[in-house]
């Protein structure tokens, strides 16, 4: 099975996010980027499928800050190919445009399965995988947490609320939005990443179509109002513990 995993760099939420002067975007000068964690799961699931059933895994990303590092890391984990889309699509480009660009690149590639992370922290205009599937006109299922090949199709589990899951059979090729891989995404030893950086090559392609109708624009970005918020408890751990117990007693939760 030949699997393509489109991955996306998203702002690292470990950093404090600031909004630019216009109030219409993040202040990107001070941002750092990290691979979307759901994409990490999509990659892990792809690697597991390859290890069990053979085939190849191709990781594809848009050029940007730390993209190379993410792609080399993917190869170090076991991906066969890494492809970088070199169009000037800055961070924050709407998913409709990214999906259209991906679709134009992927339509020239052979694949059985496309695994993407089910969502990303900056999906303002819808989830990338579903948009991509519709531009490619291939079937899709999102919020997937189990994939198994089944006679030229795949059997997938889609998660609903409350632990209920639905099982679907999906004809290939297909796009799946991965919620969680079967195991924690593997570690790429840095010595291997460094070796990959010296030896492996990242292929570069230009997407032929980056025109998509987004139909919406950002008017304002703001941090959520701090509402009433939590009353913060301070002091040593013991003092905090005592305050908590007092609160629990007042509310009648603990005698």
């Amino acid at each position: 099975m030949n699997i393509i995993v489109p991955v996306k760099q998203v702002p690292d939420l470990v950093e404090e996010l600031e909004i630019n002067e216009d109030g219409t975007d993040l202040d990107r000068d001070y941002l750092s980027y990290k691979l979307n964690e759901f994409d990490e799961h999509a990659l892990e699931e792809a690697l597991l499928l390859k290890e069990e059933h053979g085939g190849t895994v191709t990781v594809i990303a848009f050029e940007g800050e730390d993209t190379d590092k993410a792609l080399y890391t993917a190869i170090a984990k076991g991906a066969d190919r890494a492809v970088k889309i070199t169009n000037d699509l800055p961070p924050g480009t709407p998913n409709h445009v990214l999906a259209k660009a991906l679709a134009s690149v992927l339509s020239g590639m052979e694949y059985d399965l496309i695994l993407t992370g089910v969502q990303a922290a900056d999906d303002r205009d819808g989830q990338l995988g579903v948009l991509l599937a519709n531009y490619l006109d291939v079937p899709h299922v999102s919020v997937v947490s189990g994939v198994a090949p089944n006679n030229g199709a795949v059997t997938v589990q889609k998660e609903y609320a409350g632990g209920v899951m639905a099982e679907f059979e999906v004809d290939l090729p297909a796009v799946l939005g991965v919620q969680a891989a079967r195991q924690t995404p593997r570690y790429a030893p840095v010595s291997r990443v460094r070796q990959v950086m010296r030896q492996a090559e990242i292929e570069e392609v230009e997407a032929s179509d980056t025109e998509a109708e987004v139909g919406s624009s950002i008017r304002r970005m703001f941090k959520p109002e701090k509402g009433a918020g939590a009353q913060m408890l301070e002091g040593s751990p013991e003092e905090i513990a005592e305050q908590i117990i007092k609160i629990l007693q007042e509310k009648g939760i603990k005698k």
Partner: protein, 426 residues
């Protein structure tokens, strides 16, 4: 009944009609001898896997004398021991997948006493590196590795906040990017930059450096983890990655020596960085301050019974036992008392060699934490302050003071905190 008469395989008996040994004819019936017995008892496959690695060779030297048994800090509270490592591997245990592999803290006390120089400081990183490459790495440790790769520190804190502690240090802490040139480059390291108790010590050291008029600067956000403990835990690639970055950064500035707070950074910068082209004069802050004590004005009498825990990577690894003691003894009112295990035979806090990121894992393999045992030793000698000078130790020992129920009896202080306390209020 031949088997009763002769229990030795007749084929193994060699009798020679005519034998001359060292010029003497010893021909005769009595020159009967046995062929060398072929040792086949052990399949050496597992041992060979270790000794074939660069750095793993010396495991094969072990002759099971057991000298390491009483000095190994982990052996004292658990099942691990250097002698046992050899024996188990000889019996066919795959060290690469064994939980034994992650228990050594690379404290070096076994190497100190080993007559055969079986060197766990080389063996452990070599085998661990292979294990990491094969994907056998405890999850906690993996998290620390990932954090380091992503953020340049194992705590997973924002690299942009590495110098945030300087804002309320109360004294100037110059950044090399602006200063360009200083007599002393202070390599702060991760825990002293981010951990609340590490920051306490960093602020104290900043104050003392200012008091002494030292011309110093720090790298600030440009500084990355030296990764010495990650290297010893098997992530040599990570070490190399950041060694290259740090060396490149430091090349941009002029300085005469590097001052470190963290003995692990001392070890990396002094012993490992030269291999990558970074040759520096590196001193630990205790070594740096000990000769300057007369320039500090101690106005506050401390009245503490202090015992000192020698950090493995300052003492055994880098030979500094005196400077910390000199500083402590110079503080008015401090009575220094030694624990039974001190200096060359000092115990280990459990944080070295990756142990800092394996607490949960280790809990399954030891009867008590190394830090807990050490805290009990400090209490036993009647100390009311356990003085340390490695940033791993403050939090480890403070946790252990709580978990052993010794709160109120013993406090843990970095030596530099005691120095500032003795200097009194500004």
């Amino acid at each position: 009944m031949a088997s009763n008469k002769l229990s030795i395989d007749p084929d193994q008996i060699i009798e020679k009609e005519h034998v001359v040994q060292e010029g003497m004819d010893i021909s005769g019936q009595w020159n009967r001898m046995f062929e060398q017995r072929v040792i086949w008892d052990y399949n050496t496959e597992m041992l060979d896997k270790v000794t074939a690695l660069e750095g793993g060779e010396s495991l094969g030297y072990c002759y099971q004398c057991g000298q390491c048994v009483p000095v190994c800090p982990v052996n004292l509270v658990g099942d691990y021991g250097p002698r046992k490592i050899f024996r188990r591997v000889q019996l066919g245990e795959d060290l690469f997948q064994s939980p034994l592999l992650w228990q050594c803290t690379t404290c070096m006390n076994c190497l100190r006493v080993c007559p055969k120089e079986v060197d766990m400081i080389q063996i452990m990183p070599a085998v661990r590196q292979e294990a990491v490459l094969q994907g056998y790495v405890p999850e906690e440790l993996q998290q620390a590795f990932e954090n380091t790769f992503d953020y340049g520190n194992p705590l997973g804190e924002s690299p942009k906040k590495r110098a945030a502690w300087t804002k309320d240090a109360g004294v100037p802490v110059p950044i090399m990017k602006e200063k360009k040139k200083a007599d002393v480059l202070w390599f702060v390291e991760c825990y002293p930059s981010y951990h609340p108790r590490g920051i306490d010590a960093s602020k104290a050291l900043a104050r003392v450096l200012n008091e002494l008029g030292v011309d110093f600067g720090i790298l600030g956000v440009e500084e990355k983890c030296t990764c010495d403990s990650q290297r010893l835990a098997g992530e040599i690639g990570l070490f190399e990655e950041f060694a290259e970055q740090n060396i490149k950064t430091m090349k941009r500035y002029k300085f005469n020596k590097i001052l470190v707070t963290d003995p692990h950074a001392l070890n990396a910068l002094r012993k490992e960085y030269p291999k990558y082209g970074g040759k520096y004069e590196v001193v630990h802050y205790t070594t740096f301050l000990a000769p300057m004590l007369d320039k500090l004005n101690f106005t506050n009498k401390l009245n503490y019974k202090v015992t000192f825990h020698d950090p493995c990577y300052l003492g055994r690894h880098n030979g500094e036992f005196e400077a910390p003691r000199q500083i402590l003894q110079a503080l008015p009112g401090v009575e220094l008392i030694e624990m039974f295990r001190c200096r060359e035979n000092s115990y280990c806090c459990g944080g070295g060699g990756g142990g800092m990121w394996l607490d949960g894992f280790m809990a399954d393999h030891v009867s008590e934490r190394l830090s807990e045992r050490r805290v009990r030793e400090a209490v036993e000698v009647g100390a009311d302050v356990l003085a340390v000078c490695c940033p791993y130790e403050v939090s480890r020992f403070e946790d252990a003071v709580k978990s052993t129920g010794n709160e109120g009896k013993l406090v843990v202080r970095d030596i530099i905190e005691l120095v500032v306390e003795a200097m009194g209020a500004n």
